[in-house]
């Protein structure tokens, strides 16, 4: 009868906290240079101790530059956050993966990669894309600075249990369709608010067939559908992916863990508060046209006209989005000229993403007038890619090959797409100004972004180019 959410919740419920809330035990706390630094400072100001420093991990990623040879001071406005994170981590004995060190990276990339995040754990970070970790079967979600401080001080949070939603992709994804396309298509169909108040279990035969890194990508955009948490029932593929990672259990503890993890699935007859089924075989490569992740279409579909919007509020939003993006309805996105390409972020900067992108680039050159960046998600991803020679593929083609960080995903680090420039990006948010003041963002998969870089246009990778 219970759903996976029920099981994860029950496994961490310490007691009732009153007022419809439960006291939930938190297994892992991840800290970054913005919210993590703030929470540590807040805790010090309030005079609270940290309950279990060994369960917390820190890395700078948001407000740091990613150019070669960068330090915390390269982007001066971010230096203070990094300094606070270093101080706080040192004071409390929290493991910090600092700039230039093995393990550093975008927090949602390095956590799974180091085995810090495991199936069935509750994981929080002061960052809405913490839901990424749900790809391993963790109950992972973003929190505010007070909640982060609360968890550091008590190893618990006072939470109301969300409702359970299941979204199933049944069938098989066609060639050229990735987890990124699948989740964008779901958001396009169901809307950015559909998951509000829910935890989403991503399921179905097409999801079970996904490689682990693709599952992390899929769960990454749960928050873009409005859900604070999204997860996939872990399976043997996940266990094999985690085995041997730095902080993963070993020996008898590993055996016991895997035995427990095998029970992490919704029961056959589990009832969900909302249940959706999507035909995986019908999903084409997706590209966003507007300024919300729900403004998304297949690369060869016509850009919608505001008159076709389902209600007056959205008619206005669509018209504003088209004006901001400098697009006209009726034509497909394919063929639209681009100025920038960003391959990076916690959505799509893992090794398999870089391999997919490199496949499109090999033997080609970045189109004239296009600035193209690859920002690996972590030091480990960067090194592994360099061992395979992927950096050469990108560099030879004219891409910038950079140091790990959030970079152009958030543009809070001195790096930005210039005003009016059009950027195909593998990140997760296409809000007005997200990649820089006046920047125009088109979200897409790594292969689609790489193809756009070498052709100088939004390109349908299913056709020869």
């Amino acid at each position: 009868m219970p759903t996976l959410l029920d099981k994860l919740w029950q496994a961490h419920r310490v007691a009732s906290a009153g007022g419809g809330q439960d006291l939930i035990h938190i297994d892992r706390i991840l800290l970054h240079d913005l919210s993590g630094a703030r929470a540590l400072a807040e805790l010090a100001e309030k005079g609270h101790a940290i309950a279990h420093p060994a369960l917390a991990f820190a890395t700078p990623d948001h407000a740091v530059a990613t150019g070669p040879g960068r330090t915390a001071e390269t982007f001066p406005a971010g230096a203070r956050g990094v300094a606070l994170l270093r101080e706080g981590a040192a004071r409390h004995g929290i493991r910090l993966f600092d700039l230039g060190q093995d393990g550093q990276g975008i927090v949602h990339v390095m956590g799974p990669e180091l085995g810090i995040v495991l199936p069935g754990l509750t994981v929080i970070c002061g960052d809405s894309h913490t839901c990424t970790n749900g790809g391993l079967g963790a109950l992972a979600f973003g929190v505010g600075s007070s909640e982060l401080a609360h968890a550091l001080a008590t190893q618990t949070l006072r939470l109301a249990k969300p409702k359970a939603m299941r979204v199933r992709f049944e069938g098989a994804f066609p060639l050229g369709t990735t987890a990124k396309d699948a989740v964008l298509a779901a958001i396009g169909r169901l809307g950015t608010g559909a998951g509000a108040g829910f935890a989403i279990e991503w399921a179905g035969s097409a999801v079970r067939a996904l490689e682990v890194e693709q599952r992390l990508t899929l769960c990454n955009l749960s928050i873009e559908m409005g859900a604070r948490m999204g997860f996939i029932a872990p399976d043997e593929r996940v266990f094999a992916w985690i085995a041997g990672r730095d902080y993963a259990p070993r020996g008898a503890a590993w055996e016991a863990a895997v035995a427990a993890w095998r029970g992490l699935a919704s029961d056959e007859d589990a009832a969900f508060d909302a249940d959706h089924v999507i035909d995986a075989g019908a999903i084409a490569p997706q590209v966003t046209w507007g300024t919300s992740p729900e403004h998304v279409i297949a690369v060869d579909a016509p850009i919608p006209a505001p008159e076709a919007a389902p209600d007056p509020a959205r008619r206005k939003a669509w018209a504003d989005a088209l004006a901001y993006q400098g697009l006209e309805p009726g034509r497909p996105l394919a063929g639209t000229r681009v100025d920038w390409v960003f391959i990076g972020s916690c959505t799509n900067a893992r090794l398999s993403d870089l391999r997919e992108a490199a496949r499109m680039v090999r033997g080609r050159r970045v189109a004239p007038g296009v600035t193209a960046w690859v920002v690996p998600g972590s030091v480990r991803v960067k090194r592994a890619a360099e061992e395979e020679g992927l950096d050469r593929v990108f560099r030879d083609a004219g891409f910038d090959w950079r140091e790990p960080g959030c970079s152009l995903c958030v543009a809070a680090n001195g790096e930005a797409v210039p005003p009016g420039a059009r950027c195909v990006s593998t990140s997760n948010r296409n809000f007005v100004g997200r990649q820089g003041k006046g920047a125009r963002t088109h979200l897409a998969s790594p292969a689609m972004a790489a193809a756009a870089a070498v052709t100088g246009r939004i390109t349908d990778i299913r056709r020869p180019f």
Binding site: A11, V14, A15, A17, G18, G19, L23, H25, D27, A41, E42, E45, K46, H48, A54, L55, A77, R80, G81, L84, R95, I116, L118, G120, L121, G144, S145, S146, A149, H150, A153, T154, Q155, T156, R158, D246, Y247, P249, R250, A253, W254, A256, A257, A260
Partner: protein, 211 residues
Amino acid sequence: MQPFTAVTGPAAPLLRPNIDTDVIIRVERLVGTTRASMGAHAFEVWRFRADGSEDPAFVLNRPEFRAAPILLAGPNFGCGSSREGAVWALQGMGVRAVIAPSYSDIFRNNALQNGLLPVVLDEAVVREIAAQVEAAPDRARVTVDLEREVVIAPDGTRHRFAIDPARREALLAGLDDVGLTLRQADAIAAWQQADRAARPWAWQVAAPERR
């Protein structure tokens, strides 16, 4: 968190509606400032003129209200961003309680987390108290009594206000959410002890080199 029982003193009238968190504290003041130092920047867009000097006409610059522990405000006080710095800035300038017809949800919650009391009274009542204060700015005193859940106007009129009993108790005892949760510390410790045995892998996170 400092406990809140009762406070008596001058009440500064700032009755505009929708005073937002950007006005209370600008976002750039949140970076690298401590809670205590934020008071110097509270309401800076109104407190200071373009040349950096104080604007003597602004109510919080008037000598009678400089150290006012109570702020009388308009509806939807604290709207805008979620920044907790808005509360710290008010506390930094000595404000212990705000009396307003309504607040933004997030500001209200942030205030309660920090021991700043957001009292809700009818708009007409807030205006009446403000009028009494303005009639005798250097003598008028207002009392906010949380134990009795009452505001006493300068003329002695008593205005009852309501607050969630658990919140009231926490404020009286000086407990924020962390404090409330730590009251269940024994339950947490017992649960965790059992959990260490049940899920050892969730607790064994020694660095690889220390294995």
